[in-house]
Amino acid sequence: MGSPGRSHRRLPQAPDRKTSIQEAALLPISRRQALALGGAALLAGSAGDARAASPQGQLTWAVHVSLAPTWFDPAETPGMITPFMLLYALHDAMVKPMPGQTAAPCLADAWKMAPDGLSYEFTVRKDVTFHNGEPVTAEDVKFSFERYRGTSASVMKERVAAVETPDARTVRFVLKKPWPDFLTFYSSATGAGWIVPKKYIQQVGEEGFKKAPIGAGPYKFVSFTPGVELVFEAFEGYWRKLPSVKRLVLKVIPEESTRLAALKRGEVDIAYSIRGELAEELQRTPGFTLKPVVIQGTFWLYFPEQWDPKSPWHDLRVREAAALAMDYKSINEALTLGYSRVANSIIPDSFEFFWKPPPAVYDPRQAKALLAAAGFRNGFDAGDYYCDASYANLAEAVLNNLQEVGIRVKLRPLERAAFFSAYAEKKLKNIIQAASGAFGNAATRLDAFVMKGGTYAYGHYDDLEALFAEQAVELDQKKRTELLHKIQRLVHERVIYAPIWQLAFINGQGKRVRESALGLIEGHAYSAPYEDVTINTG
């Protein structure tokens, strides 16, 4: 087993990925914890469930984001989760996260790593076909990998020396040097392992493929109106099982209240992203179900002026006071009905090398005491509080808490794009409320948000830099873990960040749905796998 082998820390090998820019919740892609490397690949157990009856009926989703045709193409996976909403229907991957498994064998029914760690060999499942009836072959796998140009494409291509196809069902990835994270990247962090039909694409060209995509997934493409509506139809030749629902319709409804109304009237069966009081309302309404999923998006307060000795935020006690001032439970109850997770870290608890901090504490009295000790008996004017305008509701609640202990701030919600560019360009001051749903592990997260030169780091601590440099070349997984835990502990103790929560993404399910497939795959915000979706026939 090789080391992560990072010679250059800045290599974007597992870069942070922002979620879809417009959706309301941050959704991570990575499902890389507990990877079963080299383990005996499990056959998809449910393959035999396929009922003899042909697919029937139709289910409609109210989608909160504007669907883009690039999402039909795994090669363009842009580093956000939203495309997987469509990929799970239209395409299939060699290995992908499935219910109960983070790396389930799909188009590959088996794979193994060479003992020297320098190559991976996959076997393509037998008798699997694309929607047009063509068989899925090793050539398609190679083609798909080489065609892949989405997120982390350069990293993968840099490390993969060659893709060999000794026979129609065997694909071998030859690495330049050992790369233990290869399977993570191939199976879940990127779209490189999602297979597209080589012949068809060469036939119709890239444009043609985008207009009429064909894949090996459980649903066939029927029609698409950009930003409006997408229709799928069951692919009866899907290998895993026969989909139960004949047609899937995804309708874009940007306004949350309207999604709820549509769900209630039965125009749609599943509505994505229903929050706050609307979720409460849905919970109260008989026949409707809330489907919350905790995703890997963490939220926090950041104090960009903590390195400026003249700033109040330079004082650790003030930062601690801010963290203590937040009424985590009430905020969670109010905004996400208590479904979010108060993990007290900027790193999702599912990440590799995650260090579990002590639970977050709400103690306004202590906060006031700390402020007084820092010389702010009557509180202080803390300037601006920047946030992404779509999370102004969270900001308002936090701001309330801060005001209560005497940290007086002025909310400055910025429109999303403006916020992120200002954040990255280090133009923001005072307090920043931000979030990340980026892929990766603890190290990548720290790299971007804590370390010198990190995209979103406004300053650094020398001791942390030293520790981080140390872990970057540490080959021993255990030692590396220790180092990263230590850094995380220091980040926690110094209150470099005041973490808020790990967001719960709440969806609504209507009466006609028996199985929405929401939450089946851990951390996946949307319905998946689609072949598991069923209609209530009773």
Binding site: L278, A389, N393, R412
Partner: protein, 295 residues
């Protein structure tokens, strides 16, 4: 609109005879006065800080409804802030934003309209082409656009709305100046030796003020409603400031859930203010200046 090119004779605008209040919109004016008073004395009148609430007290209904209490006469919002206090301070924010934006648009548009109409020639061409261009931009979208560039703050919203709507003044004022320019007193002022600046300032401006004022009453409504729409899209007056438009946008989810007071009350305030301003404007329009009928 560029269809209002009919040259119409301008009757001498008589000063308003307030003692002859035919059809005077008494109720609307009283409403506007009331709003103004509340706005001025919000600090004294409001029982709570409008920006601070408590999550423990969120979604309290108005006092008369089951679950309501006298502590919060008009209930509380999604972060437990007192709705009555927010409405009172909201009057202030909305009035300031509305009036300032209208003033900004009015001053800019009137100035450009006068300069363009009076000087004519290439100055007129430049200003009118600019106005045409500006008018061809969809107003609300343009505002969103500007908000995305400068970031929303109360001051920015004022400039954005003013910057979007000055064209209406420029158009109307220019066409009025064009007809005023042909009036004999302007020619006589030239004969008397007045400079162009003096003519614009002493002879033209006083005669277009009426129109500008009428236009302002009508614009006030448009500005306030646009501000609400910006809030709906998340780029209006930033929270937690108590602006009516923002309250309405914030409360919109509550509408589906039965928290009617969060939307109905600020909606009512906006409606009353805009309606009153419009009714007053209509009356002024008829009263002051028949030229403005085409607005």
């Amino acid at each position: 609109m560029s269809v209002t090119t009919h040259p119409t004779a301008v009757p001498a605008p008589a000063p308003i005879a307030f003692w002859r209040l035919k059809g005077f919109p008494l109720i609307p004016v009283l409403i506007l006065l009331l709003i103004a008073l509340v706005a001025i004395f919000a600090d004294v009148l409001a029982p709570y800080d409008p920006e601070i609430g408590s999550l423990a007290r969120r979604f309290r209904p108005p006092a008369w409804q089951e679950g309501g209490s006298m502590a919060h006469l008009l209930g509380t919002d999604h972060v437990g802030r007192d709705v009555l206090s927010r409405l009172m301070y909201g009057a202030r924010v909305s009035m300031i934003v509305g009036l300032a934006a209208v003033l900004f648009a009015g001053v800019l548009g009137t100035f450009l309209g006068i300069v363009s109409g009076y000087l004519g020639g290439w100055v007129d061409q430049v200003i009118m082409r600019l106005t045409d261009t500006w008018l061809a931009l969809p107003g609300l979208t343009f505002a969103i656009f500007l908000a995305a560039i400068v970031g929303p703050s109360e001051l920015n919203i004022i400039f954005i709305l003013g910057g979007v709507y000055w064209t209406r003044y420029a158009r109307v004022i220019r066409s009025e100046v064009l007809s005023l320019k042909e009036r004999e007193f302007v020619n006589l002022a030239i004969v008397a030796g007045c400079s162009r600046r003096a003519i614009m300032w002493h002879h033209i401006l006083p005669n277009v003020i009426n129109s500008a004022v009428v236009l302002a009453t009508l614009m006030l409504g448009i500005v306030i409603v646009t501000e609400a729409a910006l809030s709906f899209l998340g780029v209006g007056v930033p929270p937690p400031r108590p602006a009516w438009g923002l309250m309405l946008a914030d409360g919109k989810k509550g509408l589906m859930v039965g928290y009617w007071w969060l939307t109905v009350l600020p909606g009512l305030c906006i409606m009353l203010m805009v309606l009153s301003a419009n009714l007053l404007g209509d009356w002024l329009r008829v009263k002051l200046d028949p030229q403005l009928r085409q607005l």
